[in-house]
């Protein structure tokens, strides 16, 4: 219940933060919303000697349009995502997902950057980012780089970030108007991690699927982009037989843990069920 001691730093700019992280090395952790890190520290599963709080860095905040993309600052909270009219009209998949994350208090503090960057396979946003084809703006002492969400996740708590690097923004290509979307999450109660969840983004042209992108949450040690399942659906009318094939293809790439959500076999099957239900809702929304 009580964390170990640490030294606290509160830089005012990205540059200052990077410089601090470079000096402090492995002994430092970044503090975003704190609602993944602080619980771990209270259980003493994480005991950093230094915390670098990003909360005072204005450049990390905000949601804005940038050409064909929307750029969201890493420190934008789930609450701000839900409230954003820009996201509500252009990227409603994000609001739907945010509302399924944790509870109101956690959403006031939890950030998008925190949710996508720490590599927790239970987090919801990573699979959604993979589904959306998003990329992460990353800054470290050797400069800036862009990493596609689909290339970012290597294993549980193992990402493409090097020591001293932080995600500063998330860049998402805006889906065409009339796109279909859904995030379908099976959970026991509000606040739980997903037993299985599926994110779907699709477009329909003359009754047939033109594009389809699928992300799966918490059914492997990383979020999954079900590329093959998406390909199977292209050109179809989302008829039952093709959907079943796509669900099977999605299930085939899962390797969930057996835990209190249920045995692995069940969770794999649930990824198929969640995908099927997400496709139905996405289709209803597409025009």
């Amino acid at each position: 219940m009580i964390p170990g001691s640490f030294a606290y730093h509160r830089p005012n700019s990205i540059k200052e933060a990077i410089s601090l992280l470079a000096d402090l090395g492995e002994d430092a952790r970044v503090l975003a919303g704190g609602h993944s890190l602080i619980p771990m520290m209270k259980l003493r599963l994480a005991s950093p000697d230094h915390l670098v709080d990003l909360g005072a860095i204005n450049d990390l905040k905000g949601v804005r349009a940038d050409g064909a993309d929307i750029v969201i600052g890493a420190m934008a909270t789930q609450h701000e995502l839900i409230a954003s009219e820009l996201l509500g009209s252009k990227l409603p998949l994000l609001r739907e997902t945010s509302l399924l994350i944790a509870d109101p208090q956690v959403r006031y503090m939890g950030t998008l950057g925190g949710n996508v960057a720490n590599g927790d396979p239970g987090n919801d946003m990573p699979a959604v980012m993979m589904c959306l084809g998003a990329s992460y703006q990353v800054v470290g002492k050797s400069g800036e780089r862009k990493i596609a969400a689909r290339d970012f996740y290597k294993g549980a708590y193992d990402t493409a970030l090097s020591t001293g690097e932080i995600v500063t923004a998330i860049r998402i290509p805006v889906p065409p108007p009339g796109h279909g979307f859904a995030y379908e999450k099976l959970k026991r109660k509000v606040g739980d991690y997903a037993t299985a969840a599926a994110a779907v983004l699709l477009t329909i042209n003359s009754g047939k699927v033109a594009t389809c992108s699928i992300g799966l949450t918490n059914v492997a040690d990383t979020p999954l982009w079900a590329e093959q399942a998406g390909k199977i659906l292209v050109g179809s009318t989302l008829d039952a037989a093709t959907v079943t094939k796509a669900a099977a293809a999605a299930e085939a790439i899962t390797s969930p843990a057996s835990d209190n959500h249920g045995p692995a076999y069940y969770r794999t099957k649930m990824s198929g069920v969640m995908l099927t239900r997400a496709l139905i809702r996405a289709k209803a929304r597409a025009s």
Partner: protein, 166 residues
Amino acid sequence: MSKVQVRLKVNGKVIDELVEPRTLLIHFLREHLNLTGSHIGCDTSHCGACTVDLNGKSVKSCTVFTVQAADGEVITIEGVANADGTLHALQEGFREMHGLQCGFCTPGMITRAYRLLKENPTPTEEEIRFGIAGNLCRCTGYQNIVKAIQHAAAKLAGAPFQEAAE
């Protein structure tokens, strides 16, 4: 580790104190400021008994370091009453509708409802339940808590409270 100076407003009063960086806001409130209304019910940020209002947001004060709240404004259950000292509509509503039994979740519940009604002054039952899903109660089964919040919402809107037919 060395302490740091932290300055923040709590229930309208400016506080200036030296704290360890690791001091959780809930402990700062309860132990340093003797504001024992907010409670601790779990270790994993689930129960919401520690909920306070920080800079206009409902937050679980057990999952915030005091230093993160520097230069901020905190409202706890002790600061929820009206400026003239009368009970807030929520405090009245909880008593009117039997929205509490052991009282342990109540400060967090009321403080959360306080912000919920500012986010949405006319919530439906479903919105209330979703809005308090970060606050666990073991005694009431939530049904009368919902009624208490509806009662308060009506009072704040100056409307009569109509208890829904069972």
